[in-house]
């Protein structure tokens, strides 16, 4: 048997958490070191996993591990990654490491619990990206919930309690119905295996054609994931949670947790229910409408925000709308996949969606760090309170500019490619949606330039108020640089990431054909 690298990666955070558990709470330095150390190990392991997958062929599920878990019930401990999940694992490792590194100097309250919960959260996220069994998927999905809930609730801002419970209830409400749908799928197919069911669903619908059960199960899965994405109208938990969470919590929330929802849509909902997905993307275009509303509405709300953190939170709603849109485009193409051109367009929609997941993780993660950095100094996030900071904190200004430009999709930075591919797919299948959706890009440029750049950095500097403002410390720079480099690198050379995604999605679409 080969070395079970996925299991090792998956449970490394748990091991770290257990280690932290036995370190006395007074010894905060050791706790921090162990926490960051383990996060870094998972980053390395995640990188190795990605390399291994790329070498072995990113189209297929690689490094599969399978053991029986609950026999009478066909539940398996089943892990595996392909070109789609491997980059997500890398992203999780990267952002967790940076978050813990950044937290080492910003979190002083109850350090032990903080690091412990963060590593448990990482365990949950890894599990979702690796699980190939629906029960496992669900278990890890929920494992991530409690640590995040406590991170918001204990270390959050003034309204943390409300935000924490709202986050928890929204996600839970969605996921319990997903659980019922999982059971329903199991009793119709006799399997919990995600690839197996996808295989079956490709030839025959899981549920009898025309029965309400298929539609109900589709929506159960879709809504559970759409809440997490979050797609309009299920997005209302997000601004609260993001705004109240501690900086690193927001980074992980925006950077990885939202991706869990999008990941579920692509990994489960689309292959399990291609017909329903197609139907609700074309004949009854609920899904494209949700995506468009997320993009346009999210962007418009951003324009009206005066709280920097809230603005970025809403920008997540808009940006994740592109993911849903790309997905809807691919689903809309389901019936015409025969042609080469249509196939390419559908693949491009999916590639764009996945690329956006990755890029948004890097970019918005960076933006939340930047919010945290200025809030630590100024103790306000009110845009109107700032002005003219460009000369006071030039380094910060530069970093913010690059990240902001990446966010609005400037060519040469990571955000550009995701929008490019999403719209390439969308134009082919859903013209109207593409046209309306492009408006979102314009709005994004507007709020980044007008609200963030102009209100914070340009104009007259209030010497008295901000004269003592310090520029970024070395450790803040060290947190941002890996993200900046990734943005620029992907902007100029998106090929490795794209190839990885493309291989996985070509396989998925061929299966659907």
């Amino acid at each position: 048997m080969n070395f079970p690298i996925l299991s090792v990666t998956l449970f490394a955070p748990l091991l770290g958490a257990l280690l932290i558990l036995i370190i006395p709470r007074e010894d905060e330095q050791t706790i921090r070191r162990v926490g960051i150390g383990f996060a870094f190990i998972t980053l390395i392991l995640g990188t190795i996993v990605w390399i291994l997958v790329a070498q072995a062929g990113a189209g297929e599920l690689q490094l599969v591990e399978e053991y029986s878990w609950i026999e009478g019930f066909n539940v398996f401990y089943r892990l595996g990654v392909d070109g789609f999940s491997a980059p997500m694992i890398f992203l999780t490792g990267l952002l967790t490491t940076l978050s813990l590194f950044y937290s080492a100097r910003t979190i002083t309250l109850r350090v032990k619990e903080y690091y412990l919960l963060f590593l448990l959260l990482e365990l949950g996220m890894f599990g979702v990206f690796m699980a190939l069994d629906l029960v496992m998927f669900y278990v890890f999905w929920e494992i991530g919930l409690v640590p995040m809930f406590l991170l918001i609730g204990v270390w959050g801002g003034p309204r943390r309690e409300y935000a924490a419970i709202k986050f928890f209830l929204y996600t839970l409400a969605g996921s319990v119905f997903m659980l019922l749908a999982i059971l329903g799928v199991y009793f119709w197919t006799g399997s919990f295996s995600i690839p197996e069911i996808a295989q079956m669903a490709a030839t025959n619908p899981i549920f009898p054609v025309g029965s309400a059960m298929g539609v109900a199960a589709f929506w159960a899965f879709f809504i559970a994931f759409a809440i997490k994405v979050p797609s309009f109208p299920f997005h209302t938990w997000l601004p609260d949670a993001h705004t109240e969470a501690p900086t690193s919590g927001s980074v992980i929330l925006a950077g990885v947790l939202l991706k869990l929802g999008a990941y579920g849509l692509i990994r489960i909902t689309l292959p399990f229910f291609p017909r329903e997905f197609h139907y609700f993307s074309t004949e009854v275009p609920i899904i494209p409408v949700m995506a468009i509303l997320s993009i346009v509405y999210g962007a418009l709300v951003c324009m009206a925000q005066w709280d920097l953190k809230k603005l970025i939170a809403y920008s997540s709603v808009a940006h994740m709308g592109y993911v849903t849109l790309g997905l809807a485009a691919a689903a809309a193409g389901y019936e015409v996949l025969g042609g080469e051109e249509a196939f390419q367009a559908a693949a491009s929609g999916l590639n764009g969606a996945a690329f956006q997941m990755f890029a948004h993780g890097i970019i918005t993660g960076g933006l939340f760090f930047l919010v945290g950095i200025i809030y630590e100094r100024a103790h306000t996030r009110e845009l109107k309170a700032f002005g003219g900071l460009a000369s006071q904190i030039p380094y910060y200004y530069g970093v913010m500019l690059v990240t902001g430009f990446a966010s609005l999709g400037l060519p040469g930075l990571a955000g550009f490619w995701s929008e490019f591919f999403v719209f390439r797919g969308t134009v082919y299948f859903l013209e109207v949606a593409a046209i309306v959706g492009v408006l979102g890009v314009v709005f994004t440029a507007a709020y980044i330039l007008w609200k963030i750049v102009q209100y914070i950095f340009l104009g007259q500097l209030d010497e008295e108020k901000w004269g003592g403002l310090q520029d970024m410390e070395w450790w803040e720079k060290a947190t941002m640089w890996p993200l900046l480099l990734t943005m620029v690198f992907l902007g100029f050379y998106p090929t490795p990431l794209l190839q990885s995604f493309d291989a996985a999605f070509t396989n998925l679409l061929e299966l659907l054909q």
Binding site: I70, I143, I165, V176, F187
Partner: protein, 480 residues
């Protein structure tokens, strides 16, 4: 007689405790009594394990020794070991008659054992009454405390009434079929005349009243909150678990031996489906308004009984196994939660949720166990409670009947509601701050109980497969 060894061990240990309680005068020298009780329970547990896998046999014609009975016994013994550990520190502070408390626990455990295997209405009734009477006594154990006495009396009056009703139903059954043996009754029912159908329905309702009382199901649940609140907290832990195990053993045994083979299952089935829905919903909704942690857990355990009923009405091997698994998960979880409640009230003398504020600073370990147990009660993975519910709901969805699928959906909705009140406790422990900063010490036996419960709730996940296989073997007792 060997087959009776677990019960005999319990009886002997119980009597031993009673004797020593009377003979040894100085109270200080009695602190080892609970350990005797634990040893007795462990011995009974080992005896049961050695019996596992034996042929299905009748003992003295009224008692069956089969996989189901043995599984129930094991669950009951594990639960009672925890109860004893939870009780130790509390009972020691009460002074006199410590031995009696443990004696009652052991006698009740023995009655549950008998209930698990009873196949004759007479023995069933005897076991039922023994469980009830010991429970009343434990509830009213604090003789000088008004609430304890009130809870005990209420429980007693309610129970006496309901058991009379059940006995009445049993006598009808005897009248119809001419036997008290469950197998005999089920054969007798198969040939029953058309005109007797209505009568059978009445019998079913009468019997169900007794069953519902024992597990604390709606509409026979009103005794629970007062008894829970008034009883000494370890006794509350006990009555939240032990009678339920006995009650569910009884329901499964009676229902599955005689009911499915006659078409009168249809009536009983519908009756119990509605009881399940009402129990879950009312338990959860009323729990939302509670401010006392014991009352909150009382309503929560009413709701839990509703979930378990889902597995009962599924009438399938998997349903039975799911009920057993959930009983085990529930026992571990609820006792873990009560261990924390007892530890808290030992130190502060309070059961109000608002006093739990800031507990995570004062006793991090205790707060953690409480958190995990509450999440398990709400059914959040990866706890035992989640997998228990997974099995229960899947047993229902598996059946072709759409009513059962709906029942599972009701169960899911209820789980979400339940989170709202478990949240109140979590909120107090983790989010509210209090003026009290001093740390709370926890006694050794309580620490053991907390640790065992925590380990059980989390590790059940890992051993799910072998465990469930065992329970399915047990469930096959009823399904050939």
């Amino acid at each position: 007689l060997w087959l009776l060894s677990p019960e005999l061990v319990l009886l002997v240990t119980g009597l031993f405790l009673l004797l020593f309680d009377m003979m040894v005068r100085p109270q200080e020298e009695k602190s080892w009594l609970p350990y005797v009780a634990v040893v007795g329970l462990i011995a009974a547990l080992i005896a049961t394990i050695t019996l596992w896998g034996c042929e299905e046999t009748r003992v003295l014609t009224v008692l069956s020794c089969d996989g189901f009975a043995l599984a129930v016994k094991m669950i009951a013994y594990v639960a009672m070991i925890l109860v004893v550990l939870v009780s130790d520190a509390y009972i020691q502070r009460q002074g006199s008659y410590q031995g009696v408390f443990y004696m009652l626990l052991l006698i009740c455990t023995m009655a549950i054992s008998l209930m698990a295997g009873a196949v004759d209405l007479v023995l069933i009734y005897l076991a039922f009454e023994t469980i009830s009477i010991t429970s009343y006594l434990l509830t009213g154990y604090l003789r000088y405390d008004r609430r304890s006495a009130e809870g005990g009396i209420k429980y007693l009056l309610y129970g006496a009434g309901v058991s009379a009703v059940m006995l009445y139903g049993m006598s009808w059954l005897y009248g119809i079929t001419g036997t008290t043996d469950l197998v005999g009754i089920s054969q007798g029912l198969m040939v029953v005349e058309e005109s007797m159908r209505v009568l059978l329905f009445v019998v079913m309702v009468l019997l169900s009243a007794g069953f519902a009382f024992k597990i604390g199901a709606v509409p026979f649940h009103q005794w629970a909150p007062d008894a829970y609140e008034g009883a000494p907290t370890p006794a509350t832990a006990f009555i939240s678990v032990a009678p339920k195990i006995g009650g569910f053993a009884l329901i499964l045994r009676v229902m599955l031996t005689m009911v499915p083979r006659t078409e009168f299952w249809n009536m009983a089935g519908d009756l119990w489906v509605s009881i399940a829905v009402l129990t879950m919903t009312i338990g959860n909704l009323v729990a939302l308004w509670q401010s006392n942690v014991k009352r909150l857990l009382a309503y929560s355990s009413i709701a839990q009984a509703g979930y378990i009923l889902i597995g009962v009405v599924a009438i399938s091997p998997r349903g039975v196994a799911a009920v057993l698994l959930y009983l085990l998960a529930y026992a571990l979880t609820n006792l873990g939660a009560f261990a924390a409640v007892v530890a808290f009230s030992n130190q502060t003398g309070s059961d109000e949720i608002e006093d739990y504020a800031g507990l995570h600073k004062r006793a991090p370990g205790m707060a953690l166990v409480m958190l995990v147990c509450l999440l398990s009660l709400a059914g959040i993975p990866p706890t035992a409670g989640f997998f228990g519910k997974l099995y229960l709901f899947s047993a229902a969805i598996e059946q072709p009947s759409p009513i059962l699928s709906l029942l599972a959906i009701v169960g899911v909705i209820n789980s979400v509601i339940s989170l709202a009140y478990y949240w109140k406790v979590i909120r107090a422990m983790y989010f509210l701050s209090s003026d009290e900063e001093e740390r709370l010490p926890v006694s050794l036996s309580l620490n053991v109980a907390l640790g065992v419960a925590l380990a059980g709730v989390l590790l059940l996940t890992v051993f799910l497969s072998p465990l469930f296989n065992l329970l399915e073997v047990a469930a096959r007792t009823f399904f050939g």
